[in-house]
Amino acid sequence: MVEGNGILVCGELTEEGQVAPMTFELLGAARRLAPEVGGEVTCVLLGSGLDGHAQEAIAHGADRVLLVDDPLLRDYQGDAFVPVVERIVRERGPALVLLGQTMVGRDLAPRLAARLGTAVTMDCIELAVQEGRIVATRPCYGGNAHARYAFVTSPAVATLRAKSQEPLERDDARQGQVERVEAGLDPAAVRTRILGREKQQAEGVRLEDARVVVSGGRGLGGPEGFQQLEELASLLGGAVGASRAVCDLGWYPVSHQVGLTGKVVTPELYIAVGISGASQHMAGISQVKNIVAINKDADANIFKAARWGIVGDWKEIVPLMIEKVKALKAAGKLRA
């Protein structure tokens, strides 16, 4: 048995106020670890105007849900969230605290661990219990290597990579406890202030949700190529992604960057055009099972990870793909 009592999952809410899918993935992982860790799987949700959210968490595997409902928790700010979670952890004493590798998790987890005087491992893809210790496996060196860490202190704090864990099947029949917890926040303790938010107009399908992603890299030779990729993506009902190299060059907006420091995506189909397959980029699609690579260089790294590949010039291949997909679509041969 591991030192500590149960697993605490730090849930997140989407902008629309729903429980984020990431939370369900964390609960799935927690559930699978629970037998070895022992104790309950508790999910804490922080926000403002929480209602019915607890049921969602329970249906996805939580034994207990802690609702911390406070206007100060409406938008994420470290100075507000960290002390709350810290207090809960100190009170409940879990063995393991799980968060998502999200914009919130990246900020919350290290600070929480620091306050608790414990270690944290970020962006993990696998968690296990070995010889009474929590063991986390995570990619490093841009995805070139994997590192496995064993926690020496308790609790273990870890963030999990998006889409690396399977959530449980939703089961509304599941039972669980719901507790409302006071935030107990002193507004003066929140030293930061959010001055404003600007949303980038995302056209079409969101990269993170797309079933098909058509992605462009330096092999496109310039920003013009993306017009064709957009057309292809649109025909396939998908979204367009870009490698970090072309985003840095300004060929495509950064919000479409796929990779270790961009978005991690898990479409069913990922078409990489003119992308060499550097590890940094591959880290963004490490969970994708069906990669199609189109590249002029037969020795490009991407072909090692691709299920299908065409060695050729995208300028030739992509227009042909567009043409034939149109024909297939017209003939009703494509998936809806």
């Binding site: 030779g221 190299a245 060499s276 550097a278 002029k296 260089d297 010039d313 300028k315």
Partner: protein, 751 residues
Amino acid sequence: MAIELKVTSPQTRRLITALTFFTAILLIPLVSAIAVIAAGGGMGEATREVFFNIVSWARLVAYGATALVLLVLAYGPLSRLRLWLLGRKEARWDRPWERLKAFLMYGIGQGRMPNDLYASAMHLLIFWGWLFLFIGTLMLAFHDDFVEYLEGYVYLGYSLALDLAGVAATVGILMALYRRYLWKHPKMRLGSLWDDVALLWLMLAILLTGFVIEGMRVGVSELQGAIIDVGGGREANPDWAPWSPIGFVIGKAALEAGASDGLMLGIHKVLWWAHLVMAMGWVAWVGYGKLSHILLGSANIFMRKLSPTGAALAGSALEPIRDFETAERFGAGYLRDFTWKQLADVDVCVRCGRCESQCPAWNTGKELTPMGFLQEIKAYLNEAGPALQAARRQDDGQQPEERKVAGDVVSFNTIWDCVTCGACEYQCPIFIEHIQKLMDMRRYLVMEEANMPETAQATLMQLEQRGHPWRGTQLTRTTWIEELAREGIEVPLFDGSQEYLYWVGCTGALQERNVRVTKAIVRLLLEAGVSFGVLGAEESCSGDPARRLGNEYLFQMQAQKTIETFKAKGVRKIIVNCPHDFNVMRHEYPQLDGHFEVVHHTELFARLLAEGRLRPQRMGDLWGVPTTYHDPCYIARHNDILTEPRQVLAATGVELLEMGRHRKHTFCCGAGGGHMWVEESKGRRINHVRTEEATDTGAQVIAVACPFCMQMFEEGVGSVPEAAQKGVQVLDVAELLERSVTFSRVVRRGS
């Protein structure tokens, strides 16, 4: 594109230069001499009265005016010299005999003229015509003041010669006027009222008045057999008149029109004085404006940059910065950072427009024009120079406000658009050095201000951190060697015992498309039994991209490292397939005490074919394939290697179709000057324009001899619709040779 009539064959160009020299010098005197001989006898007394119909004190006026005018003339260059001296020291008078030769060949012999035949002919006529007229005037002065030798046949020949010279000059001026007003040639873009237009009309006026004066004199004296004031009175003979043919025609026409002696003498007198004033004015003008090219242009040719290593152009080998620790400024940012010779260059420029007409940047809609930026510096030199010079004399440490030349007077884009192809320097008839100036400004921007296009910055960072410019490559310097090993081909590593080092270069090892060329070269070398080795992992960047991108410091560090590696390994001869590395090793490594014998792969293969060590198949796969050859700038223009690649192509059996801009007129692929990695500022992409030109020849294959040209054309044939539709292929000369040669020792590609 401007219409060009030019001659590219080197043999024809030499012929034309020889012809201009000898024929022009001899033609007029020769024709005159022949005519005189054929004329027969009876002309012993022929002569003319100098200062006919003119008051005798006109002599004093003429000589006085001459003295005055010479002073005015001299003041011109001297006042410019004061401004040039704002610049740094630079010595350009070593090896005087070579310099004299250059002056004779390019100055008197108009050696650069075959680049534009129309302008060439036009300038030749004006040049020789005017020169003879000038000499003729001197001869007359000598005759008048010292020895009266212009008598008889000598005089008649003299008179005929000068008339012919006058006609030549007039035709030349008319050609110039036509070019400016009716043809409206684009090279005339930077014309100005006083410096160009007024000058032409003045010269025409001088010529025409000269003819009319002669006509009036002939009409009054010779045609009427009047007594002229020579040696106590001599009767002028009508038979002499035809020996001044133009004068004869005009005089005759005047008489037949019924002009009285009084009228003709009156016209004569007025026009004579007008002619004197205008001619004097012209002489004074030689010190200024466009006419100053007579003095300054000649001086510029004399002071041209002489390369110790045989580089073809001044800008082929850039000048090093000798001491970074003590240099007051890196590169040229302000007027005083240029050398005096660089400042003089901008004054020498007569805005002929040839450089601009060939510049790949200008021709694709970019800001850079070689003529333009010179004129910008000149305008600023005029504007700020005097004040700066005055401040310098005062020497009180006060510096007046001055604009930065690099980036302000000459724009950022202008400086960065340059691909160092050398077309400008090759065209310039008076050897202005465009490239070094632009590169010096680039150095200033990079090393003093770190101000450069993002792509240049990224490339320099990449060069510094990783020792090669190819960011993102998944290959290493030995990947190609390992791949060949898997095919059973062992690539020898250089250990000092081999004759040659084969320098693969960053591109040849790290870019997939170019690795195929490297492998082809290695297979050919092994087949031919050449003794060679490669450095493999010990190769690092030659330093050329750093230098062309303006980071002289990084260049020297990288070059020194490579030179040390060469020396440590006992390298003496180097085979290079990259023209840029070839150029840097041949002409710029010696600046850093690295002296090696460098040969381009096409040169070597041409030799191996000639020696029979490579055996081309008869009617092989490539037989008759329409192919065009793109001359790489750094091989053709900077290094005069023109025939060897063509010899190699001939051996492959392809049908060679030449582009209009070929040999030393080759149009850059767009990758020089660091532009392989730097985005173009605006306008059409240079490589697209050149790909179109190549496709228009009807070629199915574009043969290249440079890894950058290879990259540029590969991109081009994918982007330019006609090329893409036709499926035009790009292949290195070595790849083509590989397909045409019988391999007995080595496993062939693709087996």
